[in-house]
Structure formats: structure tokens, C-alpha cells
């Protein structure tokens, strides 16, 4: 019957990385300056904004020191018909950045600048001024034939707003963001030896968005004082999400093999399935890991000794989860006991 709230909050302090962090700001500013000085003359005018988990206040420190994943969004003041193709727009950005480091590549959803120090910056290109009031993301690589390039409806600013405003109460919002960060670190630890088939950060964020219930406990009946219970909240998210799995059959060597299947939609238009790229086998691995996580969370909750409970949680969340020594879990006595005699029969 432990909740380990103190340990969860310490874990959160250990892993969180906020947008205001100067490390991120410096790295982003370097790219912004480079874009300003090198953007080709024929490029449309644009504005930049912070995108991704740091902007949503759900960013975590990378598990590998220095391996930051920074996102920068560019809203070009144009409609998608004002430019010949999505890759033509992305090429303005690519041309401005190429040569900045030894490794600048155009990937399908972005232009990525990788630094020797191990971190990278993803720059995304949007057509932000369209007659239908929607925002479109330019997709395609340098080598993608024009018929396969795409403008995908995607408004990152709506997403950031939606995630940041999930709960009107600011303390509730903080629990929501803590749960997201715990789950993202859990993913980094549990999938550390896997290159493909991991759920993305935004998929985990959306899982929490769709399944969370704020969990608190009244700790003082007289004043009604409440404390947050993150362990209860994450148990609810995981068990609720696991219950949404259905079965899908795949033909293997002439036999129909059952696989667990689930989708997770982005909370904003056009609500794409964020697990679409995971194969059925990868979804099965994901579900197995979630079930192990749930088992561990429930075992920790059932354990009376918070020190033992924290050991169970550390196996799931990694070394940043603190395990208190037994002495740090007990109330202090004002004086040692004077042991009486006793008689029994």
C-alpha cells in the first residue's frame, strides 16, 4: 500500500527538461540565425516557433547524455499552391542549412541537422496561409518524385494548445505532464536496445491525453487537503489503454495468426493514427511491455514498504527513479525505547 509520490516527484525533477532550458535555446538560436542569413532570395517570408515536446512542456532529458532531439517549426506565409511542390519549399530550408554541419539531410517530414556532439535539430516546413484556414506540412525527400510528395494537414500550434490546455486546473495539468514524462522515460529505458518499432513520444503523449483521470487522495479529512497520487494515475492510464486492444489476424505460412491491435489518434485534426507505422509484431511487443509495466505498478502499490515498492518501480523507469533507504521512509522517534520486561504463558 505504497504510493511513492515523493519518489515519483523526485523522478520527475530528475528527467524533466523544459523549453526554457538554455541548452535547448542556444542550439535552436544557432539554427535560427543560420536560416536568417542563408535563406534563398526566392523563399517566401516565414516565422519560426518552438515545436515538439519542449513546447508542450512534456520534454525529458535524453537517456544518452547530450542526445537532444530539438524541433523547430517554420510557418511560411503562403498557401500550398504558391509554390511548385512540397520539396521545392523544403529545399529553401535545406539550401540554407546544408554545410552547417557535415550531416544535413532532407527526411520525409523535415530537414535534419545532426551535430557531431550527438544531438540533432529537426526543421519542419508549413504552408500556413491557405484559403481553407488549414495549415499544411510539406512532406517529401530530395529524391521523392513530385507525384509522391504531399501536403499533409497538420497544425502543430493547435496540438501544442490542445496538450497544454488539457485540464483547466494548473495542478491537474502538472500531473498530466508528469505522467507523460514518466511514460516517455519508461519507453527510452524499455526500448533502449530497439532501433525500430518504438511508440513515438507524441503517441505516448496522446495515449495519456485520451486515457488520463486525475488521481488524488484526501490526506486531511478536516481541511479536505488533497495530494496527487501519480501511481494511481499511471495505473489508470495503462489499464485503460490496454483494455482498448482488439485482435487482428495475419496470414503466416498459410495460417491465420492472431495479433493484438490498437490505434491512437492525434488529439487534433486530422486525427491520424499515431501507431500506424508499427507492425503487428511490434504492437505485440509494445503490449507485452505495457502489461509488465502494469503488473509492476500494481505490485508496487500493493507493497507496504515504500523502499521495496521503489525498487520495483526502478526496474521499469530506470536509474533516475530514486529508491529511498529504509531509514528515509519512517517517522522519527523523539527518543529511543526503554524496553520493558514481559511475561507470557
Amino acid at each position: 500500500m505504497s504510493h511513492c509520490q515523493k519518489q515519483f516527484e523526485e523522478f520527475h525533477d530528475n528527467i524533466k527538461l523544459s523549453d526554457e532550458d538554455s541548452i535547448l535555446k542556444e542550439k535552436r538560436d544557432i539554427i535560427i540565425e543560420r536560416l536568417e542569413s542563408k535563406m534563398p532570395k526566392d523563399a517566401k517570408s516565414y516565422s519560426h516557433f518552438n515545436q515538439g515536446s519542449y513546447a508542450m512542456k512534456t520534454g525529458i532529458k535524453p537517456l544518452v547524455e547530450g542526445k537532444y532531439d530539438i524541433d523547430l517549426g517554420l510557418f511560411f506565409d503562403m498557401s500550398k499552391d504558391d509554390v511548385g511542390s512540397p520539396v521545392e519549399a523544403k529545399k529553401w530550408v535545406y539550401d540554407a542549412l546544408v554545410g552547417h554541419t557535415n550531416d544535413v539531410t532532407m527526411k520525409t517530414p523535415c530537414v535534419t541537422v545532426t551535430y557531431a556532439a550527438g544531438y540533432h535539430v529537426d526543421v519542419t516546413v508549413y504552408a500556413a496561409n491557405n484559403s481553407d484556414d488549414k495549415v499544411y506540412l510539406a512532406k517529401g525527400k530530395l529524391s521523392t518524385p513530385i507525384e509522391n510528395q504531399k501536403w499533409d494537414e497538420s497544425n502543430p500550434k493547435d496540438l501544442i494548445k490542445e496538450i497544454r490546455n488539457r485540464f483547466p486546473n494548473s495542478d491537474d495539468r502538472k500531473q498530466f505532464r508528469r505522467i507523460i514524462r514518466y511514460l516517455k522515460r519508461w519507453k527510452d529505458v524499455q526500448f533502449s536496445d530497439t532501433a525500430n518499432g518504438k511508440p513515438t513520444g507524441i503517441a505516448l503523449t496522446s495515449i495519456v491525453y485520451h486515457n488520463i483521470q486525475i488521481k488524488t487522495e484526501v490526506v486531511d479529512l478536516f481541511s479536505g487537503k488533497k495530494e496527487y497520487r501519480d501511481l494511481d494515475a499511471i495505473i489508470h492510464v495503462i489499464s485503460s489503454f490496454i483494455s482498448q486492444f482488439t485482435t487482428k489476424y495475419e496470414l503466416e505460412n498459410g495460417e491465420w495468426v492472431p495479433y493484438p491491435f490498437v490505434t491512437v489518434s492525434l488529439p487534433v485534426s486530422p486525427y491520424p493514427n499515431l501507431l500506424e507505422k508499427m507492425t503487428l509484431k511490434q504492437l505485440k511487443v509494445f503490449k507485452d511491455k505495457l502489461e509488465k509495466l502494469l503488473e509492476a505498478l500494481e505490485a508496487a502499490k500493493a507493497e507496504v514498504d515504500p523502499s521495496e515498492a521503489a525498487k520495483i518501480l526502478k526496474k521499469q523507469f530506470g536509474d533516475s527513479f530514486p529508491v529511498p533507504s529504509k531509514d528515509d521512509t519512517g517517522k522519527k522517534a523523539s527518543a529511543p525505547a526503554v524496553i520493558p520486561s514481559s511475561e507470557s504463558a
Binding site: 500500500m1 505504497s2 504510493h3 511513492c4 509520490q5 515523493k6 505490485a299 500493493a302 507493497e303 507496504v304 514498504d305 515504500p306 521495496e308 529504509k326 531509514d327 528515509d328 521512509t329 519512517g330 517517522k331 522519527k332 522517534a333 523523539s334 527518543a335 529511543p336 525505547a337 526503554v338 524496553i339 520493558p340 520486561s341 514481559s342 511475561e343 507470557s344 504463558a345
Partner: protein, 165 residues
């Protein structure tokens, strides 16, 4: 890990660590001539939940008086046992009660047992109003909780569990 956790009438929990349980269990009176044994319960009152954990139990000391149906425990030795745990605990160590054995399968407290328990509850040593009393029969362990609520003493059975072979 989850063995020996008991819910109390107050909805709090009591945990007996495996090590403590094994020490007590090693003294159960299975032989015709084995004598009663006993000791003190030492442990924590948890900060986050007010739950109790019995981390350690003392064993009979040479000066204790052991008979088939009677056990007298001196403070000697048991005080040293407590002091050692206290010294290692950053002041988080409490005297939480007593344990002893009975040469019957399912143990029932004697008149003397109740008398002792009431006395211990009446004169709390660390400002703690709750004590636990454990008796191990030959096939069952029972746990009583005693409380001193401003002088009102109450003792109730809170758990009975089979002693595994």
C-alpha cells in the same frame, strides 16, 4: 515480498518482513519438550502512510526464563538489541510490541498474556499509542493490535494466518 501484510481495522497496514517471520517461526514448539520463546518487535511507522513495518524481532536471551508453558523476558539483551537497531536507523526505529510461542496449534492468549499486554500499553515508551502482539502456535500465527486512546485500552485480534511448513 507481499506475504505477511495485514490490513488493520483502521485500514492501515502492518507488514512483517520475511526475515522477522523466519526468526519467530524457527522457535515454534513442535517438539514435546520445546519451551516457549519470545522477543520484542522493532520497526518503522511509515511517513507516507502511517502503516507499520516490523523490520526486526529479537530472540530469547540467556537471562530469559523459558518453560514449556511460560516465558519471562528480561529487558537485558533485548535493550541492547533495540539500541543497535536504533543506532543504525537515523531515529526511525520504534518498539512495536511483543511476540511469543505457544505449544498449541491455534494459539489463544492466556490471562497472563493479556495482563502483560495491558501493562505495556498503559506505559508507552516512545509516545506511540499502538502495539502489536504476536503469538505463534504450532500451525497458526495470530496478531493482536493494542491501542491506548487517552487511557482507554483496547486489544483486538487483527489477523490469523497459517504457518507454512
Amino acid at each position: 515480498m507481499l506475504d505477511h501484510q495485514y490490513q488493520l481495522p483502521s485500514n492501515h497496514f502492518l507488514k512483517i518482513t520475511l526475515n522477522s517471520y523466519q526468526v519467530m517461526k524457527s522457535f515454534i514448539q513442535l517438539e514435546k519438550n520445546s519451551c516457549e520463546a519470545g522477543g520484542i518487535l522493532v520497526g518503522r511507522v511509515l511517513d507516507e502512510s502511517n502503516n507499520f513495518i516490523i523490520d526486526d524481532v529479537s530472540s530469547p536471551m540467556p537471562t530469559d526464563h523459558r518453560r514449556r508453558n511460560h516465558f519471562y523476558r528480561h529487558p537485558n539483551g533485548h535493550q541492547d538489541f533495540f539500541d543497535k537497531k536504533w543506532g543504525e536507523s537515523k531515529n526511525t526505529c520504534f518498539y512495536l510490541g511483543e511476540w511469543h510461542t505457544h505449544p498449541e496449534p491455534s494459539p489463544y492468549p492466556s490471562h497472563i498474556d493479556f495482563q502483560t499486554w495491558r501493562r505495556l500499553l498503559k506505559f508507552p515508551t516512545q509516545n506511540i499509542s499502538v502495539l502489536f502482539f504476536i503469538i505463534l502456535g504450532t500451525s497458526q500465527m495470530k496478531i493482536w493490535q493494542g491501542t491506548n486512546n487517552n487511557g482507554a485500552i483496547r486489544i483486538e485480534l487483527v489477523a490469523a494466518s497459517k504457518i507454512d511448513a
